[in-house]
Symmetry: C2
Subunit: 195 residues, 2 copies
DNA sequence: CCACGCCTTGTCAGCGGCTGACATAGGCCG
DNA sequence: CGGCCTATGTCAGCCGCTGACAAGGCGTGG
């Protein structure tokens, strides 16, 4: 990309953009050669650092693709905290999901290829499930913080995430239909299931 | 346990009970020293084989704890296929869950310690999530095989698994209350969420 | 302006997970 | 009995990942 110089990187390696370079290099290499065939040392080299430095920024090779999760989680928990009092748990969640839709839609150029790599690599898919589970637990926690009891909080969070994940994935595949519309459709379907 | 002899195992290493010995040895060692501090070679040694043999039976160190998943999956998909026609997706699922409760309750002596190890080891918890996701997908597939459309099948499967997992975990923690009762309670709570 | 200390990176050595290739032994079948 | 097939052992080696230590840049306080 212009970042590396194939031996020693003469570029200004000023601040914490090292992290950024590593993430970019990783995604590029994963797409070019596949996750399994790219080594941590290879990623580091393309980013202009050594393997050891890679592992100082990321606890393991998979984690390099999972940075954005925190941002999304913060946005969602904040939205949950701000929701009006009279709503039920599921409505709170869907309101929060809708509120982060623009954020996701802006990130599509990055998240689409990223998602392709993840879904075609078992090791990464596994990590993604763990991240989603953590996010789900965070949502349940945010609901509990509003006074919702444990069981309904957990159930609502899981149901909501089920719908949210389904809508997001199918939107990533074919973006013609907007994310918000998909969310609404999924929400409707969910409620219909208990009728 | 009587299986190993601490050097070379003179035991009759007849058939595929090697697999069994490996699983037992692994669970024992994980409980004694923790997952991270037990090596694949160590497990193999206790089972009376070499490390290489371990990896011929299991694709990786984690997998040694996840054999039963298949049995459960088969039982559930079979129950789904046999359910009466007039039921809705969620009722089909809960019927299936109730039908495998005895199976789980019999397995408790094994699954309780196993679950303790898993839930206290991030690497294993991650694998468990992957297994649960696969099981969820299998349930959705069984529903689709009955003519349920994709979206409701996936949503129902995820909602059902959310309830099933919650009930099972809390039953593992405190078995005083039966698994079936917990399932019913969770199911009721789930339906209340959409009211 | 210098000396000290912190923060980041590099270097090195080493463990453990995991794999491919090849050798060996035991049982079964013709 | 001879050959085959399967299960296991052995060996060499890659890669993920870590701890320990050294080296360099940069800021701060003296």
């Amino acid at each position: 990309m212009s970042v590396t110089d194939k031996g020693r990187a003469v570029v200004a390696k000023g601040g914490d953009d090292v992290r950024d370079r590593l993430q970019r290099a990783a995604l590029e290499l994963f797409r070019e050669h596949g996750y399994d065939r790219t080594t941590a040392a290879g990623i580091a080299a393309r980013a202009g650092v050594t393997e050891r430095t890679f592992f100082r920024y990321f606890p393991d090779k998979r984690e390099v693709l999972f940075e954005g999760a925190v941002v999304l989680q913060d946005a969602l928990t904040a939205a949950i905290a701000e929701a009006p009092q009279e709503l039920g748990p599921l409505d709170i969640l869907f309101r929060a999901f809708r509120s982060v839709a623009p954020l996701l839609e802006n990130n599509r150029p990055y998240s689409k290829p990223r998602n392709d790599v993840i879904s075609s690599t078992p090791a990464l898919a596994e990590r993604e499930l763990a991240k989603l589970a953590a996010l789900t637990e965070a949502l349940a926690g945010a609901l509990r913080a509003r006074g919702v009891a444990d069981l309904p909080a957990v159930l609502a969070a899981r149901m909501g995430m089920a719908a949210f994940a389904y809508a997001t994935i199918s939107w990533l595949e074919k973006p013609e239909q907007g994310l918000v519309e998909r969310l609404d459709a999924t929400s409707r379907e969910l409620k219909a299931l208990l009728a």
